[in-house]
Structures are given as C-alpha cells and as structure tokens.
C-alpha cells in the first residue's frame, strides 16, 4: 500500500468539491470572530461563493472521472450529477436564508458552515462506492442536518423537530449499520463492486443472508428518503424545522440518500432485484398513498409539503422499482426537478411566514395574488410543477418515471401512481385557490416586499423548474448517460 496515494493528484481532484466545501466551512468558523456576526450578509455571500466554487469543482472533478482512493469513492456521471444537484440545492437554500436569518436574528456563520458541511457530506454520499464511506457521508450530512433543524434553539418546535429527527435518525442509522455489518459478514467486504462480485459469484453467500442485510439497509435508506412505512418522522420535522432548513432537508439529504439508495440497490444488490423489487413496489405505493391522502386535510403548509414530500419519494421509488437504467435516469431527473420546485415552494413559505415563522397556515396564503402577484405567480409555477402540469419539471419527472415503469411492465403501479397524482392535485389546488380566489389575509397583507436575495431565491428555482419543463433534454441526456452505473 503506497503511502503516497494520499498525494495522488488525480484523487485530490476527484475529491475537490468536498475539499472546497470543508475548507471554506472551516474558514468561516475561523472568520466568525473577525467579521461582525450579525446584520451582515458576508457569510451568506461567502457561502454562495463557496458553493459556486464547489459546483465548478464538481464539474472539474468529472474531467478526471474514475475511482479514487482505492475504490473508496468513484467519480462518475452519476456522482457528478448528484454532487451538482446537492450543491445547487445548497445555493437555493442559501438564497432565502439571508432574509430568514436576518429576520430571526440568528447567527450566520455557523449556519452557513453547517450547511456547507452537510453538503460536503452529501457530496461524499454521492460519490462513495464503499459502504463505510457511505455511512460516514450519511452521518456527516445527518448530524449537520440535526443541528440545522434545531438551529433556532429558542424555538420549541425547532427543538422538538431536532430531537425527533436526531433520535429517529440515529435509530434508523442503527438498522442501516447492522445491515452493513451483515453485508460485511456475508461477503468480507463493504466495497460495492466487491460485494456485487461476491453476490454474483457461484459460491457466494446465501442470497437470503444478503437479503436480510439488504432489508436492514433498506430500512435505513427508506427512512432517510422518508418513504413509507418509515416516513413517520418527516411531517413533524419538516413542520418544526426553520423553513429554509426544511427546504434543504426535503431536497438535499433526500437526494443524496436516493443517490446511495440507487447506487447500493442498482449495483451491489442489483442481482437480487427480483427479491427486493416487490418490496420497493409496495413501499412506493404506500408512500404515494399515505403522502397524498394524509396531505388532503393538512392546514399547515409546511406539514402539507412534508406529506407531499413523502408522496414524491414514492414516485422516485417507482422509478427504482423499474430496475432499469431508464428508471435510474428518471429518478435522477425527478430529484432534480423536485429539488427546484420544492425548495422554491418552501422559499415562498419562508418569505410569507414572517418573524417567528408565524404564518404557516394554508389560510395565510389567501389573497397573496393580489398583494404580491409576482410571489403568487412563482408559487403557482412550483405548485403546478408539483401537481405535474406540462411545461414544468415536475411533469417531465413524473413522465419519465412512469415511462420507465411502463417499460418495465409495471402497469398497475403506473396507473395507481397517476391516480395518486390526481388526488395530489387537490391539495395543491387548495393553495392556488387560497392565493387567487380569496381576499387577502393578514399574512398576505403584512408580507414584506421581496428582498433581492429572496427575489433570487424565488426566481432561480422557478427558472429551473421551467427550464426542466421546457428543455429537459440537457439534464435528461446527462442522467441517461450516467445512469449506467459501474457494476
């Protein structure tokens, strides 16, 4: 084992985004005492700069595509796609955070540092090719998220959310880890490529053993992506966490978790597909159904979007059920579209909720279209995308997913999924109805004008949603090219 592998330049480039994020995050902690902590956008701007740099870094890393650190990680299209995605999620989270932090009178440096670290963890997850790396990346992302969820430490709901997220998250991690241990026990390795080789080899371990290991890992992963029946935590956490953080949680960690979900199940465990596919099938259907139906009666917008997020996890699982490269590509595309529309929607919620996040009810959106037509119009785009109306990213996402599902002859899942999306239309419409068809509420009347950051935070995801809806080809082609994971 040559020690100088640490100095392998190629490996370092492949690890560039994580390095940038970590270094800059650390730098922020150092700068905290130097720069004035409050009433300054410095950290936010620095964070944005860092993320853009990491974005470039990711793209640059892709020029050196290949495994790194002895196969611990791998930079391929898939990894790059998710790295870029989580970094973009980071950017979209930072933008509304400016106004949010100022309004809540909260420290900025730690917030942004934690955000960057969390994203770094997600980048690790995106590129990891080894269960132990995956585990560590998952923990980095999660622990930073736990803190972010409870970032407003004087807010009871935030405390509660953080506690729930933390306890249940760790609980699920225990299951995941047990699964990893069993995989190690069954194959003698946790490297995904090696595991796959062992699983497919003639005198490999008993598939039942691997199956149990897969089941335990499935528990952990399904929990992280908030898929049924492990979705219970999501509504409470999403509701209680600060809104920009909720936006982040619903997109970043989720996308990264799906990345490892896909990578594990589509590479190492792909040979066992016949045994896990029914499981995912059921989970997908349960997620969609529970998410959509439970959302029908919600009066809190964040909670409503949380349930919607559960349902959307179900849609992505449909793509996984398809067990094909097309399905993987569809899931990737969907997660990208979902990131834009969901963060955008949460950004609007954040904008409207006011100091102390008082206005979170569906009723508070009443008459927004009259008071702030621009905000309402942009939220409309997100909601239409969430419903799945053409020319939005959400529609194409659903379209590709169900296309992949039909290609794999999942006719019933497709039909049930599409009917589910019709049910979902109802609760998104409630928001539209509120905004456009009622007289202005107190919240809409008191809504502050859009700040520059907030404007960018709304327009950017809206443009993204529309771009993915009108010109999905670019993203989809890349996803399609990257979906053929190393096996």
């Amino acid at each position: 084992m040559p020690v100088n592998s640490f100095f392998n330049a190629g490996d370092m480039i492949r690890f560039l985004p994580e390095i940038i994020l970590t270094v800059m995050g650390t730098l922020m902690m150092v700068l905290d005492p130097v720069l004035h902590r409050r009433s300054s956008n410095a950290f936010g701007l620095l964070s944005l700069f860092t993320l853009v740099a990491a974005l470039i870094g990711s793209v640059y890393a892709y020029t050196q595509a290949g495994p790194a650190f002895g196969g611990m990680m791998i930079v391929d299209g898939f990894a790059t796609f998710f790295r870029v995605l989580v970094i973009v999620v980071g950017i979209l989270t930072v933008l509304p955070s400016f106004r949010f932090l100022a309004r809540q009178d909260a420290e900025t440096s730690e917030y942004h540092a934690l955000l960057l670290f969390s994203i770094a963890g997600q980048c690790v997850m995106a590129s990891a090719n080894d269960l132990i790396m995956i585990f560590i990346g998952l923990e980095i992302s999660s622990i930073a998220s736990y803190v972010l969820a409870g970032y407003l430490r004087d807010d009871k709901r935030a405390n509660e959310a953080a506690l729930k997220y933390f306890l249940l998250g760790s609980f699920a991690t225990g299951f995941f880890l047990y699964g990893v241990a069993l995989v190690y026990g069954a194959t003698g390795s946790v490297n995904l490529s090696v595991v796959r080789a062992a699983v497919t080899s003639a005198n490999g371990p008993s598939p039942v053993f691997i199956g149990v290991a897969a089941a335990l890992m499935f528990v952990g992963l399904a929990f992280k992506v908030s898929a049924a029946p492990f979705q219970v935590w999501a509504p409470d956490v999403y509701q209680g966490a600060p809104t920009p953080v909720t936006a982040f949680l619903s997109a970043g960690p989720k996308a990264a978790a799906f990345a490892i979900f896909l990578r594990i199940f589509m590479t190492a465990l792909e040979p066992l597909g016949n045994s896990w596919a029914p499981l995912v099938w059921i989970s997908a259907l349960l997620s969609m159904t529970i998410g959509n139906f439970a959302a029908l009666l919600q009066s809190n917008v964040k909670r409503l979007l949380a349930y919607s997020s559960i349902a959307h996890a179900g849609y992505v699982l449909v793509a996984l059920t398809a067990r094909s490269d097309v399905g993987t590509a569809a899931a990737m595309f969907y997660l990208a579209a979902y990131a834009f529309m969901n963060i955008g929607a949460f950004a609007v919620v954040s904008h409207l909720s006011g100091k102390g996040e008082r206005y979170q009810a569906v009723d508070d959106f009443a008459g927004l279209a009259q008071k702030q037509p621009m905000t309402a119009a942009i939220l409309t785009i997100f909601l239409l995308s969430l419903i799945g109306v053409p020319l939005t990213g959400g529609f194409f996402g659903k379209f590709y997913i169900f296309k992949a599902a039909l290609e794999s002859h999942l006719v019933w899942l497709t039909v049930l999924g599409l009917l589910n999306s019709a049910v979902a239309a109802y609760y998104y419409l409630r928001l539209l109805v509120m905004m456009y068809m009622y007289e202005p509420s107190e919240a809409a009347t008191n809504a502050e004008p859009l700040s520059a950051g907030m404007r960018a935070a709304l327009i950017l995801p809206a443009l993204g949603t529309l771009f993915l809806g009108i010109f999905p080809g670019w993203v989809l082609d890349f996803a399609g090219k990257s979906s053929n994971l190393v096996k």
Partner: protein, 509 residues
C-alpha cells in the same frame, strides 16, 4: 413563416406582453387583448384560404425536434377538422374579449392574459401531431380555465373550479399512461408515424391491450365532452364561470373531447372502438335525452344551457360512433355549430346577467318588450340551437342522425327524441325570460344592445346563417379529414344500398 405556428404562438406572445401591461391601466389590457385576438383571427383566416383541398393528409405541418430522448418533437399540422376548430377558437376569442369589456371589473389585466393563454392552449390541442405535445397542450388549456372560473366566477366558483380541474385531471392522467404505453410500444410520439405503423402492421395490439388503451384515452375525452354520466362538472363550471369562460368552455373546450375521440380513439384503436361503440352510443343517447330532460327543469339560465350542451354533445359522440362518413362529418359540423350557437347563448345570457345581475329565470320576464333586438337575437340563437333548418345546428343534427340511421335505425329513433325535447326546454326558457308582463325591475335594468354588443352578436348570427344555408363552405375539408379517419380505422360502413353515382336531376335550360 409557417402560418399555423404563427396562429399558435401569437396568443402566447399576446399573453406574455399582456403580463407586462401595468395593472393601473386596465383599458390598455382590454385594448391589447382585443387587438391581438382580432389579429390572430384575421391571420387564421389564411388557414382555410390556403388549405389545399386536393391534397391528402395534414397541412401547414412543421416538425422541429424538441427533446432528444425520448424523441419528442414540436410537430404541428392541421387537417380539415382541426383547422376549423382552430378557427372556432380564434373566432370566439375576440368575442370573449368584447363581452368581458365591462363584465370583468376587477383584476382585469390577469383576466385578459388568461384568456389569451387559454387560446394558446386550445389552438395547440387541435394541431399537435405529437402525442406528447398534445398532452402538453391538453393540460395547458386546463390552467387558465381553472383560473377564469375560480377568480372571476360567481358564488360557488371555487367548488366549481376545483371540480372542473380534478375531474379533467383525473381523466387525463390515465391518458398520459396510455400515451407513454404507446410510446414504449411504437418508439415514437409522432401520431402520423404511429398511424403508419398501425396500418402497415408493424405495430399491433392484442385485443385486451387495445381495449384498455382505448378506454384510457376515451375516458379522458369523455369527461371533457362530457358524456353521461361523467358530466356533472359541467353545469357547475358553467354556472359559476364568467361569461367569457362559459363561452370558451362550451364552445371550444368541450370540443377537445370530441375532437380527441374522433382524431385519436378511432384511428388508433379501431377494433376496440367498434367493440365499445354500442355501449358508448347508449351513453350518448342517454346523454341526449337525459341532458334535455334535466335542462327542462333548470331554474338557472346558465345551468339550462349547460345541460343542453350535454345533450348536444351527445349527438356529436353518436355521430362519431356511427362509423359512417355522414355521421362523422355531421359530428364535426355539429362541434362547430355547437361552438357558435351555444357560445352565442352564453354570450346572450351573459348580457342579461350584466344588466340584471341574476341568472335565475324567475327574475326575468317581458324582456322582449324592453329590449326587442336583444330578444330577437336571442330568439335566432334559440332557433339555431333547437335545430331550425337554414340555421347551423340543423345541418349538423341532420347529418349525425342520418349517419346514425344508416348504421342503426333504432339508435336514431331514440336520439331524435332529443330534438323534440330541445324545443321544449329552449322555448320554455324563451317564454319565461322574454315574454310575459314586464316587471318594473326588468324595465329599469335591461336596455337594448349597445354598439359593442352588436359587434359581438352580429358575427355570431352571421355565422349561424352562413353555416346553415351554405354548409358547403365548410364541409369539403371536413369530409376529407373524416374520410381519412374512417380509412385509417378501416371500418367504413358503406351504405346498405348501391347508390346511383349521383342522382341526375333534370335541369332547366
């Protein structure tokens, strides 16, 4: 420049520009909407003028790749049927602008913007040749209508708007599944290509497959038509919608359903269509009679007209599923007719509402005394609607029933009952609203037509007469297109008797 794409995109351009007109000058919004919609109409006249009636197939085609994988093209083209439906949309939009001139009193800018967006969606639905594109337009047209009903509607507008949206959306998701399935089987979304594959036998569906696909498409369309018993969204949507919304809804949106059945269901799934035809015909006939009977007892003018649409559209479906040239031509013609005459009815009901702020029949009476011209125009429209010869509906109804009779005479016997009933409900309505003693309220509030309103009704009346007296201005391109549909469906049921080539009649001189 491709004429069709100009007609398609001008409304979108109009919509985008309308978004940037300041809220503070509603007059500018109105004027802009009128100018652009009139311009679109004038340009769209080029379609029938330039249509080459000797050529077969779609015309004005333009095919631009849009998305690489899956291969989705921006592919539009028009045939005889879609061309007229596009014309119907472009014709009615300026009329809708005019009737909304004073009717809409708040959020004026948005209203006209949505109206233009609606036009964009509607035009697109009729000319899309790529199934995916078709679905895109199908959904796009839903959104502005949802807002038109939901924002500018009456008391129960929200219930109606949501019901409208969910009904249609629920139906269309199944269609989406079917479209995707078709793509997975055919490898393309291009509708002409799929048809070519079907007719060359390169693509075949077994009977179950075909039946399920057919139903997936058909249910989506049937909701839109709306076919009994999927019609209950319609009365609510109509009653609550503002005048212009009702007009566009009844005149053009419902045609999306019948157009879809004609244009997609029959050629794509001929044997399934044939298998289902008796059932669908039964539903259509029930719809005709049922719609008319329910219409008879409505206390609300708009609801009455809405149920009458259920009845009228039943004729269209009936004609389509007669699988005869006459029936199909009649069905298409009836679509256009219904667009004009029911559109006009909604316009006129809207004018009454604008004056008296009530849709209840009981609040009127004796209007003919105070507003003779309004009454005359309403009467002509009523007569058109009940199928008086030399007005438009008669031609369509005659052709549909005749086509149906050729296919199955028993169907005709039941369907023709609707013709009797239509006279009952429309004349009774007319009697209660326009005849009788004039109340003080009516006398005070209902003036006769003003100049702007004349500009609205005259084109409508002119179309009713033109289409009734000389339908051959419109029918030849339609026949061409429907003949192709029948041909593609390979189910052309010939006349039972050998026809003489053409009945030679002695001519004078």
């Amino acid at each position: 420049m491709n004429l069709l794409s100009v007609v398609l995109f001008l409304p979108l351009v109009g919509f985008l520009i309308a978004l940037f007109i300041p809220r503070s000058s509603p007059q500018a919004s109105r004027t802009w909407a009128l100018v652009i919609s009139l311009a679109i109409f004038v340009i769209s006249i080029g379609l029938p003028v330039m249509l080459d009636n000797s050529a077969t197939g779609e015309q004005f085609g333009i095919d631009v790749p849009w998305i690489a994988t899956p291969a989705i093209h921006f592919y539009i083209a028009a045939d005889g049927v879609s061309m007229w439906l596009v014309m119907l949309s472009t014709f009615l939009t300026p009329i809708c602008v005019l009737i909304s001139w004073r009717y809409i009193q708040h959020r004026i800018k948005e209203f006209f913007a949505f109206l233009l967006l609606l036009e964009f969606g509607l035009v697109g639905v009729f000319i899309a040749q790529d199934l995916f594109l078709f679905y895109v337009f199908w959904e796009i047209s839903l959104i502005p209508m949802y807002f038109l009903v939901g924002i500018w509607g009456h008391d129960r507008r929200i219930y109606a708007a949501v019901k409208f949206f969910l009904y249609t959306f629920a139906g269309s998701v199944l269609m989406l599944a079917a479209i995707i399935y078709l793509y997975n089987r055919a490898g393309t979304f291009s509708y002409p290509a799929i048809l070519a594959m079907l007719s060359s036998g390169r693509l075949m569906f077994d009977s179950t497959e075909q039946l399920l696909l057919f139903l997936a498409f058909f249910i989506a369309f049937a909701i839109k038509v709306p076919l009994f018993p999927l019609h209950t969204w319609l009365p609510d949507a109509h009653v609550e919608a503002p005048s212009a919304g009702s007009v566009m809804l009844a005149s053009v949106m419902l045609k999306m359903g019948t157009f879809g059945i004609l244009h997609y269901c029959l050629p794509l799934f001929p044997s399934a269509a044939r298998t289902c035809a008796p059932w669908i015909v039964v539903l259509a006939i029930i719809g005709i009679v049922y719609g008319a009977l329910v219409s008879l007892v409505q206390p609300n003018m708009k609801k009455l007209v809405a149920y009458s649409s259920v009845s009228h559209l039943g004729f269209v479906v009936l004609g389509i599923f007669s699988f005869t040239q006459l029936g199909l031509d009649g069905a298409v013609y009836q679509m256009l007719n219904h667009g004009i005459s029911t559109g006009a009815l909604f316009v006129l009901v809207g004018l009454l509402y604008e004056r008296n702020h009530s849709l209840a029949i009981a609040d009127y009476g004796g209007v003919a005394t105070v507003a003779p011209w309004l009454s005359t125009v309403f009467l002509i429209t009523t007569l058109a609607s009940i199928g008086l010869p030399m007005l438009n509906n008669f031609v369509g109804e005659f052709m549909v029933l005749q086509g149906t009779a050729i296919a199955n005479f028993t169907w005709t016997v039941f369907a023709a009952v609707g013709v009797i009933l239509s006279a009952c409900y429309m004349l009774w309505l007319y009697q209660r609203v326009f005849y009788g003693e004039v109340s003080e309220n009516v006398r005070r509030h209902i003036p006769d037509l003003n100049l702007r309103e004349w500009a609205v009704v005259v084109p409508l009346i002119a179309m009713m007469v033109w289409m009734g007296v000389y339908p051959m201005s419109f029918l030849p391109p339609v026949s061409k297109a429907t003949a192709r549909v029948l041909d593609q469906a390979q189910i052309n049921v010939p006349f039972k008797v050998e026809l003489p080539r053409k009945v030679e009649v002695a001519r004078a001189r």
